[in-house]
Symmetry: C2
Subunit: 668 residues, 2 copies
């Protein structure tokens, strides 16, 4: 007779092992962190006594669920902004709020909330990707869940690093700290191909390989991403990441909504795995990943909830059900991804997708004791064809199509109980809820202060299309544009990509108690003879102040949102009811150029109405990172000097300010 | 001061009225069956005292949910057979089990189970479509829910009627009995265009119009249905039902997965409404209905769970969430069907979709008190941006994307409490569960006896494609085929649709303890010169006995399942491990013909191996209804007589029996 810590006995034991063994009257013995025995109740109880015998009659004893992709602390942003375009949601709400609020305290609280929800949903193993991952790892380890903790790397400043270099550095330390922990596997996560350069990708892959840890990345979440990759790199996303060495690591590719058959084979051949996120892919309208084809290709596919801000919860039962249903509906094949396969993706295959299949994901002797007890005898699962089944698959279909996360009764991870009879043992839910509500209130007030009504109204009419962006820019008064034009055309120092002549009609809306202005712009494009050959209408929300100033009054400014203006000026006037309006007409010669390997826009503007003497030179460049902005400011400074523009000529004001000041002067 | 029966106070009151009014600290007063007051808590409590004041702090008080399409008693078939092709699921499992088990007792029990589940899910109003609808209506009325009870009409025999005439007759009585009931609206439900003839459709519509009750029908659930309609009627489904007078009634069209823009306009112009069933449409792989376009067209669209055998539950929260998510994912528009619209479809618009918008669906003074109390302060809905919202839509996104059915605390219908603090007041769950499990066991034993292991194994390897079918058939020994061939070609009484020459290689698998046989058939099609021009492989599960016998030994037999055999004979042999095998090779001349306006197949067969003297004539026709089978048997009898086949020549045996008998004779 051997001794076990726990003996789970009397329920249906669903092993999810290779042979999909089931024991209708089964038992599982847990010794320490390990599964010591699995089998018919009589057999197991003949060999084991236990410190605690847990009656599982009417329940299913099964492997804990594996959530293969999420951003746990985003529980705190759940319900903050929904039913918006992906870019508005991401750039308009998530990123700004994250920049402002995400701190070690924030991620710890959000992770606790997420862990409580996951345990209640029967999840025992999760793959997180976020910032301050060291804090997240510590929080999860304290709670007692199993996790891959993926530290996010981006080429832009992030809430936990002002540069990619900085984040690479502390990520290596993070990996060294946690490598070998019984519950936590540290992971490096170059966020996505559109937020990491090729060299940065390569650097991340090298770290993953050197430390032999997985690499977690968003791949082809949207069709737009693939289009962009084909345009910029001349190849689809998987090929590009492969080219940058990423697939040499143990990759977990999240989403893969828009990968083709060739990319699937490439991932499979590299041993990369996929985290499928059905709810988030629908909610953000990214599309429907072809999971059936992935499985046919031999790819290992797990299921993820994605972050709770795009789901909006961590209910893994909903996710599994949707994975099964969506595969059928989207392929019009009712036998696509049957229930058993869906549950496999959420257990054994899910663990394998996290490159941890050897350790967990099924109830097998020697594996870690990550076990849940699910009540089968609920009203919504009545009657039960499971144990008198036509096919032995009936229990899978019951769990996948009818069971709910609220049917989970007990949860064990690594042999330790985390929930018993629906009571959490390692978390204080009431405190977490109180703190989370407090945090939500702060975020709310921040957004109300930042956004006011204008942005909200702008979003409400839809069409907000382009992200918040940052520009490094300088404006200078010039008397004669010809020297500048000559320099652009003939210096040999500048490569012209494109040259356009515009007549621009801008109407600025000013609001009370709101520093931002909304600009309605009509651009008429003119040909050499001055004939109008095209026009476009745009609405832009301009931040009222600059974010930073560099030498020579070069400014870093923020454009909040831009959208095509597909309605009349009258409509916008009535809709936004501005406190004040200013109209400006100007003539603009615009060049898109490369100078010192950096891309710039050069404008030579003349204010036509209200008329204003002389010309204005503008040099602008889009930027995202602080370091990049500094570099660009430096190059602009150099260009100004090559153009002979002195610091005296440089202006801090926007055109609308210049016009208003001359108006005031004229009135004096 | 007025007196109310109930005062629900302190929660957020979500009215779902025209203006989407919300009262963050609101109250609802219920007097009798009616909402007497809705508004800010202070206002309402200033005017009303109540027999019972219910504290709704931390909750949302909102209209009960409306389930616009389901088949309630099918709760008892939940999980019986999943992940199968639609036709196998329907014809192989649902219809046979329904034919055997559906009785007034069955529907009463199934309806009780469904009502319990619906109340727990916050549903207060449901549109059912099933058999024995009078019993269902009585059951629902006793429970206290509000319902449309739609009596199914088909041109085939159903569990509650041996003919359409019979069902039309008792449906009229049913309507007369229930018309005017405070909770129940009787409805006529011609099942679908593919189960009702044009004249039957017209008869149903006339009854609906005469009694001024709604008409409930399945429309364009699958693309196949539309294809069939175009082929058979030369028009899409909506046009065909319109042509048959259906749209003159108050129509509720379930599914509408495959209707086009023109059909949407036709439905809208007729005042017809749509019941959208996202889960079932996915699960049965029918596709994804274009709800966004329906709403843009101005159609009134409600949400249904469909029957619990194709869902597999009645959780309306899952359904609403999926309706919102699926619209976004399938259109790639993240603002498609926002949360508020989805909840509208499940409340006010849902009630309107059931042509009862004047009575229920929103919290408005004078409407019936169909009210639920939903707990908002749950772990999975933490934090809450709802009452400090960026947009006032936050409460809708919380309910649609994060809340669960298990968050429903109290349910009132027609002013009566049906659930308080999660306890059902009008149903005994324990008894229902026990009885449901007992019923499931009976169904299971019936299926096990009927199907044995062979079918289960057949289904397990997939590809089971064609439904169970019934054939009226006769076989006769003939010495000389020429007179038959001459009659077919030259009598002028027969119209030949197609003529083929086959060489057929059949291998029969026999099993121990199993009357069915599995036939592996290789058909080689020959041209006039005897050259093989094509071949096909099929697997057929043949019932061991005939279902019925008509004069002249004309038999009604059942073919259980048929599928393309895309694997080798060796594979099937090893997979099914038959107890015994018999091989037969024959030569077949086959004609597809019309005789007396009925379609028949005529085979002239010669047994090549084992060789057998003479020829065999077979006349066969597919059938579905008993009356149709009788008519066909009669026509076959007439044809036999025209061909000069005497009753002596007619054989009851199948070829495999003929071959075995001669073998036995040869051995003697």
């Amino acid at each position: 007779m051997q001794h076990a810590d726990f003996l789970l006995i009397g329920g249906t034991v669903l092993t999810m092992d290779d042979a999909f063994r089931q024991y209708p009257q089964g038992a599982v013995a847990i010794c320490g962190d390990t599964i010591a025995a699995v089998g018919p109740a009589d057999d197991v109880s003949a060999h084991y006594t236990a410190s605690e015998v847990i009656d599982c009659t009417g329940c299913c004893v099964m492997p804990g669920l594996v959530n293969c992709h999420t951003h746990l602390p985003m529980t705190l942003l759940r319900g903050l902004a929904d039913d918006l375009r992906l870019d508005v949601w991401l750039y308009g709400y998530m990123l700004p709020v994250e920049r402002k609020f995400v701190s070690p305290e924030f991620v710890a609280l959000g992770t606790q909330l997420a862990c409580a929800e996951m345990i209640r949903s029967g999840v025992t193993f999760v793959n997180d990707m976020y910032y301050f991952e060291d804090t997240i790892a510590r929080t999860i380890a304290e709670v007692g869940l199993r996790a891959l903790c993926s530290q996010t790397i981006m080429q832009f400043p992030t809430p936990d690093a002002s540069s990619a270099d900085e984040s690479l550095e502390f990520t290596e330390k993070f990996i060294s700290t946690w490598k070998g922990h019984p519950l936590i596997v540290p992971v490096i996560a170059p966020h996505a191909p559109y937020t990491c350069s090729g060299p940065l990708m390569r650097a991340c892959a090298e770290i993953a390989i050197r430390h032999d840890v997985p690499l977690h990345i968003h791949i082809s979440e949207t069709y737009q991403e693939v289009e962009d990759s084909r345009r910029e790199h001349g190849m689809p996303v998987v090929n590009w990441v492969k080219k940058n060495g990423v697939l040499e690591a143990k990759v977990i590719a999240a989403h893969c909504v828009a990968i083709d058959a060739g990319e699937m084979r490439t991932l499979r051949n590299a041993g990369a795995t996929v985290a499928h996120n059905p709810s988030a892919n629908l909610k953000l309208a990214s599309g429907i990943a072809n999971v059936q084809q992935m499985l046919k290709t031999g790819l290992c596919v797990g299921i993820g909830t994605d972050g709770p801000a795009s789901n909006n919860d961590l209910d893994h039962f909903e996710e599994i059900r949707l994975a099964a249903l969506l595969a059928k509906g989207s392929t019009r094949d009712p036998v696509a991804v049957p229930a058993r396969t869906a549950l496999l993706m959420a257990t054994r295959m899910g663990a394998a997708a996290l490159h941890m299949g050897h350790l967990t994901g099924s109830l097998e002797v020697g594996k870690r004791a990550d076990v849940i007890v699910l009540e089968l005898d609920r009203l919504h699962t009545t009657p039960r064809y499971a144990d008198i089944a036509i096919g032995s698959d009936a229990i899978y279909t019951q769990i996948v199509y009818s069971s709910k996360s609220t049917d989970v009764r007990d949860v064990f991870v690594n042999g330790k109980p985390l929930m018993r009879e629906r009571t959490l043992l390692t978390l204080d839910e009431a405190t977490i809820k109180t703190q989370a509500h407090r945090m939500a209130q702060q975020i709310h007030f921040f957004l109300v202060a930042r956004e006011g009504d204008v942005l909200r109204k702008l979003a409400a009419i839809g069409g907000v299309q382009q992200e918040e962006s940052f520009e490094v820019q300088v404006k200078a008064r010039i008397d004669d544009p010809q020297p500048v034009i000559d320099f652009i055309n003939h210096s040999g120092e500048i490569t012209i990509v494109r040259h356009v002549h515009y007549r621009q009609y801008d109407t600025y809306f000013f609001f009370a108690d709101e520093p931002s202005r909304l600009r309605y712009r009509e651009d008429e494009r003119l040909d050499e003879t001055g004939k109008v050959v095209g026009s476009r209408y745009r609405l832009t929300l301009v931040s009222g102040q600059s974010e930073r100033e560099y030498p020579h009054s070069i400014l870093l400014s923020r454009v909040r949102f831009m959208s095509p203006a597909d309605r009349s000026l009258r409509f916008y006037r009535e809709y936004f009811r501005p406190a004040r309006e200013v109209e400006i007409q100007k003539d603009r010669l615009r060049w898109e150029v490369f100078y010192e390997d950096e891309e710039f826009f050069i404008n030579i503007d003349r204010l036509v109405n209200p008329p204003h003497e002389g010309y204005f030179l503008e040099v602008k460049s889009r930027t995202w990172s602080r370091r990049d902005a500094e570099r660009k400011a430096e190059v602009i400074g150099k260009l100004l000097s090559r153009l002979g523009i002195s610091d005296d000529a440089v202006l801090r004001q926007e055109y609308v300010q210049i016009v208003e000041e001359s108006h005031v002067q004229a009135e004096r």
